[in-house]
């Protein structure tokens, strides 16, 4: 509601402006369609890549104009529902897939792009990794054009590991991991950095533990409400393991109020040895460090989330994000064609090179230059299962309960049984 007066103002200005344009339009016979591209990118270098791509498309299609619209992450999530139902809806916008995309698909506010994907014998679909297309499809309909994906894994400070006598490469099971945490503590090193105030960094732990214990089928069963759903044994066990980790007091001091940037800074400054984070950590930690330099690239090691003994998951089960672009109902017809252009091999390569994305278009992965991102890309190429972030996949309502409960479990505020019960209740309530 707060924005309404300014919108009224904008509208009246727009009307006045278009009145002026009527005269001009009379001489300009060519109709121009405007694609309004809503994104969350605030790094000008990264945005430049998209602007160049847009300019190239405009040059080839003089009847299309591409207009960039920026919203900050949280503001975007809050404003989008209203925006989509207004006349100001963007033509295409950013998505994390999952439950939010599902909600949007039910409303008729967004356009199914299956036909565009499958046109000319699947000319577009065939260029993109099938798992990525599947990840943004619901009941066989493609609702967004994928462009990047990622995987969460452990990153560690090699110097601090050496100081404590821990070998990162030998951590294969959760027990190994716990032993490493104990060794680090004994050596006077803070083992793990985590942004507990933001909660979602903790949900990585709960999600991965649950994936390792329940496995792909167990997860699908839980979603279907079988074996006690998310309150089933596997999830209680995952919660118990997380609670046991929390009891070791492995996190930096004040972690309960720490944000994601705090977590990154603690790792980048060398104040904590381990961080469970996104594939681009080796790049992003530089900017997060207090001195602006961070850890040397060769001082950062990486290992996939370890297996849990007796669990059904395998090491090639990945947990991470998958992002794409959603087309809205009233978007100009050229929007799909532009997205096809945006996600072609050359443009995905350009994005991989500068932005550091792991491209979802086949053949573009060779442009990933950072060695640590390349490792993640290689791991993803072998993925047996790619699970989207639970706070996206299960939808915002249940997802945030997962985040809350992950934090409550690790800090001893809720028992594993109570916590999974609350997650299951939220899930049942929402479905």
């Amino acid at each position: 509601m707060k924005f309404t007066p300014s919108r009224v103002l904008r509208h009246s200005m727009a009307i006045a402006f278009s009145a002026l344009l009527v005269g001009a339009a009379a001489t300009n016979v060519l109709a121009v369609d405007t694609i309004k591209w809503m994104h969350l990118e605030n790094n000008p270098d990264n945005l430049k890549v998209w602007q160049d791509i847009a300019a190239a498309y405009e040059k080839a299609h003089p009847d299309v104009k591409i207009e960039f619209q920026f919203l900050e992450n949280e503001a975007f999530k809050a404003k989008l529902p209203t925006l989509l139902q207004s006349n100001d809806a963007p033509s295409m916008f950013y998505t994390w897939g999952g439950g939010v995309l599902l909600e949007q698909s039910k409303t008729g506010a967004i356009r199914d792009i299956t036909a565009a994907m499958d046109a000319d014998g699947g000319a577009w679909r065939n260029t993109i990794a099938p798992a990525a297309v599947d990840g943004l499809s619901i009941d066989g309909k493609v609702w967004a054009a994928p462009y990047q994906s990622g995987v969460v894994s452990f990153f560690y400070n090699k110097d601090l590991f050496k100081k404590a006598g821990v070998d990162g490469d030998s951590i294969k099971t959760w027990d190994d991991f716990i032993a490493a945490v104990n060794k680090l503590k004994a050596a006077g090193v803070t083992p793990i950095a985590v942004g507990g105030g933001d909660k979602w960094p903790v949900h990585f732990y709960w999600s991965y533990l649950a994936m390792r214990i329940a496995g792909k089928d167990g997860f699908a069963d839980a979603k279907a409400g079988k074996n006690g759903g998310f309150a089933g044994d596997a999830f209680v066990k995952a919660s118990q393991d997380l609670a046991d980790l929390g009891k070791l007091d492995p996190f930096q001091k004040g972690y309960a109020g720490a944000t994601w940037p705090d977590e990154q800074a603690a790792f980048a400054d060398g104040r904590a040895a381990i961080m469970l984070a996104f594939q681009d950590t080796a790049i992003s930690q530089v900017h997060a460090a207090t001195d602006g330099k961070g850890l040397a690239a060769d001082n950062i090691g990486r290992f996939p989330f370890p297996l849990v003994t007796g669990g059904k998951g395998v090491i090639t089960d990945d947990f991470g994000g998958l992002n794409g672009w959603v087309v809205t109902k009233n978007a100009p017809p050229e929007t799909e064609d532009f997205l096809k252009f945006l996600t072609n091999v050359d443009n995905e390569r350009a994005q991989a090179k500068v932005i550091g994305i792991i491209p979802t278009t086949k053949g573009a992965e060779d442009a990933v230059t950072n060695p640590s991102v390349a490792l993640a890309a290689a791991q993803m190429a072998k993925a047996t299962w790619h699970q989207n972030f639970l706070d996206q996949d299960l939808g915002p309502a249940v997802g945030r309960v997962v985040n809350d409960m992950s934090m409550a479990i690790v800090s001893g505020q809720a028992s594993p049984q109570d916590a999974v019960q609350q997650i299951e209740q939220a899930y049942e309530q929402g479905n």
Partner: protein
């Protein structure tokens, strides 16, 4: 988000009341055309931006609705049940109560005391008036971010002080037992200047001759304050408390950057609860129920207070 507009009504309604009374007595001399010309714009704006959103929120609160499409799933009073069953909401209620109590018992007396100090003729009084008022001028969000740094146990002021005394640093906003007190400290710091300004205005309106007369009669400064100044300042004090209560109920902007309602919902207020659990979780129906409850509390408080304490003002 409609609650963001519905909340201030609690504060603005009382001003409307005298306005209508005045216009009614004045209309006898005026002609209808004036009414027809000047009333509709205000009425229209008020309806579009205040009455309609309130009605909409009340309507949404009976649906299970994500904010997408049109609400279709009627759930009756279920959302209200969920709200009251939510431990975070109960915590928010307690916190709002606590903020009101601290505002009234600490902030207002502090402001009154400082106001009497800076209105007396000590050198530098005007300078202090400005300094005390500064926190209030600061944007709420900026204040929240500044205090987040102050309370930071790694690099903040708290860390610096702890370092000075060679003790382990504390993390006030990461500790669920301390966090609400950290917020209360900022609330008092942020808003006492506003109340102080009210009192300064009130003090300046007091006739100096009355105080002089008391002095001649041999009243001590203490007696002068409690038997002359305070009674004459009564209406200002009541107004100040009224603002403190309404402001406390609306507390949001400062809490979000400071703690975001955490850790473990220990610093949730009703409005941050509405935002985190209604808007961010896309449970617009649930959020609307919170908004309606908040609205009822605000209106009851505002009108109740006006009726009981401010009927003669």
């Amino acid at each position: 988000m409609s609650q963001a507009t519905s909340v201030p009504i609690a504060g603005s309604r009382p001003y409307r009341a005298p306005a209508t009374r005045r216009s009614r007595s004045a209309t006898s001399g005026l002609r209808w055309p004036v009414l027809v010309l000047f009333l509709p714009p205000a009425l229209l704006l008020f309806t579009i931006f205040v009455v309609l959103p309130m009605g909409e929120a009340a309507w949404y609160s009976f649906y299970n609705w994500s904010g997408y499409g049109l609400p279709t799933q009627w759930v009756g009073f279920k959302n209200y049940g969920f709200v009251f069953a939510n431990s975070a909401f109960r915590q928010a209620l307690i916190n709002n109560g606590l903020i009101i109590v601290i505002s009234v018992l600490v902030q207002v007396p502090l402001a009154l005391w400082l106001a009497t100090m800076v209105t007396s003729k000590i050198s530098g009084a005007v300078g202090f008036r400005l300094i005390f008022f500064l926190p209030y001028v600061l944007a709420d969000v900026a204040a929240g971010m500044i205090w987040r740094f102050v309370y930071d146990g790694d690099f903040g002021l708290v860390a610096g002080i702890a370092h000075l005394f060679n003790v382990d640093s504390i993390y006030p906003i990461a500790d669920k037992n301390l966090a609400i007190y950290a917020i209360l400290g900022v609330v008092v710091w942020k808003y006492f200047g506003f109340h102080m300004m009210l009192f300064i205005a009130g003090l300046q309106a007091i006739d100096k001759q009355v105080l002089e007369a008391a002095e001649i009669d041999g009243a001590t400064p203490r007696q002068k304050f409690f038997h002359v100044t305070l009674p004459l300042l009564g209406s200002t004090v009541r107004l100040s408390i009224f603002f403190a209560i309404v402001g406390s109920l609306q507390l949001f902007d400062m809490v979000m950057p400071l703690t975001g309602g955490g850790p473990f919902n220990a610093t949730q207020t009703m409005v941050t609860f509405l935002y985190s659990f209604g808007v961010m979780r896309m449970q617009v129906g649930f959020g609307s129920a919170v908004g309606v409850i908040l609205f009822i509390i605000c209106v009851t408080m505002a009108f109740g207070y006006k009726r009981i304490f401010m009927k003669n003002d």
